[in-house]
Amino acid sequence: MNIMDAIVLLRNEALLTLLVLVLIVAEIASGDHKRHISYIALTGMLIISITSLFSTDEGILFGGMFLQSDMTQLMKGILNIGTFIVILQSVEWVSKDENIPRTSEYYALMISTLIGMSFLISSGDFIMFFIGLELATLPLAALASFEVSQARSAEAGIKMIMSAAFSSGISLMGISMLYGLGGSIYFSELSFNAIASPMTILAMVLFFTGLAFKISLVPFHFWTADVYEGAPINISSYFSVMSKGAALFILLIILMKVFSAAIEIWQPLIYIISVVTMTVGNLFALRQQNIKRFLAFSSIAQAGFIVLGLYSGDSAGLNASVYFMLVYVFSNLGAFGVATIISNKTGKENIEDYNGLYKTNPGLSLVMLVSLFSLAGIPPLAGFFGKFFLFASAASQGSYVLVLIATLNATLSLYYYLLVVKAMFINGSDNPIPTIGLELFSKLALIICIIGMVAIGFFGQIHDEIQEIADKFL
């Protein structure tokens, strides 16, 4: 293979790695002007995001360890855009006095996880899968405990890394069994002579937990809320979208492509997990006081919806999941963006503190409103379309009971989203959050999110395009 072609196929990973290196160098070069590092990170991510919009050739590199196609490129693109937004939202926080000395580390770590995700998505064998997963996880634990002055940040870090380590241990056990049963670490060479044998099922379940942990599917989700609460809020938002998204994408690829023959095993698995996840996530979310915990549980419930797309196991389901993820990036980052700004400016993170927010900060409240409604799946926001396609893909398998449970859960989720809306718009407060002047980047991030949420649904072409990619992919 031509080296240039290889680089083009690897462009995302290569550029990201380059960006990390530039950031580290910049750390040395910047001296006192640390804020410039933020601009570098921003520019870099913007460029990478734009490059990821272009379609790519199908390609297999490194003897099958790296697979690239339009689908993986699309997934990476979604993650890139999400990361770009997160970085936009982070600038303000990173520029705080206590964080600014570690600016480049912050971005370097974040982008290195993105590299991990990128390799994870493109992985063609279990080794790359494992290393990608770890690379996508481990630096995040450090980022979770980034606020070294905060005890709960450290606690978040330890919970994150311990859970992650445990889960990767369990998952590795499963992988080792799959290796034994399938005879290869390459996805393309795996072959099972008895798919429904107990060991295959056990191995699959064990393997599945590693990703379920990342996606925060019940009952592997418990770390989520604590870590989201303790971690710096930008990291929480990164967790809730990127980390989740990457794991979801690779799960989609593996289940639908690699284990497509084993659908009889994982279809019921997805059924159970999806129902349990959305129900438990919702039940927990409706009593949360802290906005980060609240969004954590909400994202767990959302994860329950997302895996509905897996259920059908066909390209429509893949499309639905990816499409929803795209929408979810904007919706969740919109909500987190508002929470970030408020937390950064006032340090307030409780839903109670949001009382009367609309009076003082109408703009922020509206963004929050739109984001929450999009998450809840209210038309004409993009979240509605996303959910609809997920439900439709599940219904295409005739599992209307599953869809019914999901739609009822969507109603339940509306309840707690409305609680926040109520706090902002209806409740009065003696001590409301003062009017906040928005910084350019934060504002920009919110605007991107709003545009995403409002516009995506109206353009059916996006969905159709993804469908074509998905058809080609499977």
Binding site: A154, E155, G157, I158, M162, S168, S176, I185
Partner: protein
């Protein structure tokens, strides 16, 4: 491949070690011992990979390399975990895992 020793013997060994490690991880209080339990689990997995490689897929060294990379990752993991444990120790003055439960419900 060892003469006279079946694949299942390896698997039983690794299984026992894995679940002992799991028990340790779930029941001990000191974070460092937790970490050690984790190493037990990873070690057990390594044994698995090696055994499968040797007994079933001896054409290539896939299991062998997998184990190698697991060791590498385990090292990184351990290093990071220890850094966080040290940080935590500074905050809580304890490395009892049960003490770090300020965030719940």
């Amino acid at each position: 491949m060892i003469e006279g020793v079946g694949l299942n013997h390896f698997l039983i060994l690794s299984g026992v070690v894995f679940f002992l490690g799991m028990y340790g991880f779930l029941s001990r209080r000191n974070m460092i011992t937790l970490l050690m339990s984790l190493e037990l689990m990873l070690n057990a997995v390594n044994i698995n990979f090696v055994a499968f490689n040797a007994y079933l897929n001896n054409d290539f060294l896939q299991g062998h390399f997998f184990a190698l990379f697991i060791i590498g990752v385990a090292a990184a993991e351990a290093a990071l975990a220890i850094a966080i444990i040290v940080l935590l120790y500074r905050k809580f003055n304890s490395i009892n895992i049960e003490k770090s439960n300020t965030m719940k419900h």
